[in-house]
Symmetry: C4
Subunit: 251 residues, 4 copies
């Protein structure tokens, strides 16, 4: 019997006009997943397909009602107030091996090409190894012409030498977009990389809001989570001051 | 030459009417394998096919007569007193990699679909990490409507948050059943996970007995094995009391 | 581009009448390889095909003339004095992963089926973990009826419980022979498993000699190598006796 | 969906007449890559295709302008002053697994066969584990007849026993050339294997220069890099002499 790497099951096949694609899978600090899930939610996105793969963990998870769900990625559809169709890919998994990630990206790309996707946007975290005081959003693009537009949304571009690789779906999907001649870019919120970072994802949501003309971003929930982390890490790293004078030694 | 993941060899092709499928492969405490093998035996099941795979260990085992047997999973057929056809999958192996488990589940699913299988039941152990005084059977279902029926057979459903994943064949086969619209569920006997647990499998056999209207369950052999384990572990964990007073310190 | 697991290159396509197949690849103590290479040599076998595979190490070896040779298995052909065609598989490699071994066995099997092979014989070592004083040849068969014939050639059959698995090509090829209805067996020379064991391979050559009616077995070279190992290991394990009296303590 | 191991994207399809192929991928001391990249540069080679693969790391690298580039190997074309077409394969990656290397070599081979390649030359390092005072170029060939010609270019051939394997693309491509009846050889600069070794690559460039009648080899840059390494390692390994007399002890 022939090996099938992926199984795609459609709940429905929505008619979409030159949709933009947004990748929101788990990654560094889960920054991209949190931002993409939030943006999909405020746009009232609906699931239309599930993608199962031999490259996900071989398991099902029973939910709170003991109804199982197989490891999967899901395709969701939304339309912006301005009428722009968007396809989101969401889920709790990326391929568990390098080869698996490549194959999944190929399978997703094939679906996107069948939908005449007009743009590929991947969301990610930019790990710095240090706590971030003020968050930034950095970009990497399939062609230099995209940078001016992105700068208008507040995306910054790091100067200097070739950067660290963008790995997994966030990298491969814009890479495959590029070689298929589709405008593609990754936007990344900077993050320490040590925590699930809602604060960093807020920056990504704001960029997406400007890009798609969405004004009500409903950021309260993300901000609350972000504050929790800030408080937690400040408590962990701030020494108990013995006196005001001593404090200066710690900056 | 093309890669073939699995080879299926049929001894015969029984005519089966909307069979129910029962998975009884090795897993936690071998609870599912022991229960399924026992239920197949009391129903006088007969082997009708063998499944060989590159995902099993690359070996043959010579038996007591030095006749070899290749690593395989086997399909067995039985009919209940009430006339219900059952297909069992039995064997000593599961796929040796995550990808291999997914491919095997796909191959098995393909066979089941060709038989118009009406239900998929997987048998497993629910590892608790603690010795079990009184065994329970827990369920996970492909759709909520199945829970009432299963409760009638004594299956319980754990409350609360999403549970630990059901891994391997016991998970993947009900997952693939679910995405193919086939009623599917896993029933699991709780077990410490540290031992081969015949005691836990008795609960599964009783549930299967009620489900299929089989009254003579011939549990003596399983009960004898279960008692052996109980005696062994009690000996190992019960301290020699010095006096009645001291005993209370140990609970 | 499609993945090709193996590449078979034919130097010639000999016309063979129901050939017997003999597997002589590396394994425990290299017992099977040494015996098979020797038997092929005394029968003046000729190479007729090479099999290259992604499951061999990705390398070429330059020979003493700096002419390269790619990692491969080779098919050789010989005809016995009695006119029986034999196909040998020889080489320095087995598949480097479990899956690779299965795929190679499938590829080899496909070739054998195309040649209407009448019997599959695999040669191996039976590792005991102990130095062997007097060598034996043990057998494992695809069907019990073969044992009487093999006993006539001096092959012995170990009594009792299921044995340790026969792994790799020596196991998979008789397993695949069995499921294709071809008489298949493995003959194994016992060996410590710690050394390349020419002494053990002599037993296999003698069995092959009786089986195929070959009388001149030209064993001198193998016997010389065997004596070298015996002398080496005796020196290493025999204590210098202080006196005759003390010697008894060492057996 | 079917698994695709490699994706080849052509920028253009140059018309080439019986091109010679030169492999210049990373390897021991990067000797082959440095030499091949240099020779391609002085011949003003142009890229005409990119090869992407599931066997490369699953990532894109943003360049100094934040424009991404997917992990790839590239095909470049040049024509020598004498009118000989050459195809180079260049890049920063080899397949990340043994199987991946074999598959990539097959994919490259298929392209070369479609171009009626007349010769396959692979460039590599010959690791000695010791610092090299005076560099040599060693050869390994698909057939003995090639040695005389190569000797004329200054290539030497190591005497004696079978050599260590030539692994990866440098080995597999001449192996596959050999089994396809194409004249193939590997030339290797000797190198310690501990450093990126520009000095060793100079030898390879000189051999290529003689082979293709290229006189202006523009070696200044390579010689500068080579001197840096020489100075660095001499500093690290030369003891501070206490006096002239003592020095002789160190040779």
């Amino acid at each position: 019997m022939e090996k099938m790497e992926s199984i795609v099951k459609y709940d429905s096949k929505p008619l979409l006009k030159n949709p933009v694609f947004i990748e929101a899978l788990p990654g560094i600090g889960n920054v991209g997943k949190i931002a993409g899930d939030h943006f999909a939610t405020i746009l009232k996105a609906e699931k239309f397909a599930s993608l199962y793969s031999m490259n996900f963990p071989p398991q099902v998870i029973p939910d709170e009602n003991n109804v199982i769900k197989m490891a999967s990625n899901e395709l969701w559809h939304a339309r912006t107030p301005a009428g722009q169709d968007i396809i989101f890919i969401r889920g709790d998994y990326q391929g568990s091996t390098p080869e698996g990630q490549f194959i999944l990206a190929q399978d997703i790309m094939e679906i996107l090409l069948s939908y005449d996707v007009s743009r590929i946007i991947t969301l990610g975290g930019y790990g710095t190894g240090q706590m971030i005081k003020e968050h930034h959003v950095y970009g990497a693009v399939s062609k230099a012409e995209l940078k001016e537009e992105l700068s208008g949304y507040g995306v910054e571009f790091l100067p200097g030498e070739p950067k660290a690789g963008i790995i997994g779906a966030a990298g491969l999907l814009i890479g495959m977009g590029q070689i298929n001649g589709i405008e593609s870019f990754c936007i990344m919120g900077d993050t320490s990389g040590y925590f699930i970072d809602h604060g960093s994802s807020i920056g990504l949501v704001k960029v997406l809001g400007k890009m798609f003309g969405v004004e009500e971003l409903e950021l309260e929930g993300l901000e609350t989570e972000a504050r929790k982390l800030t408080e937690l890490t400040e408590k962990a790293t701030t020494p108990e001051p013995e006196s005001k004078e001593n404090l200066s030694y710690f900056g």
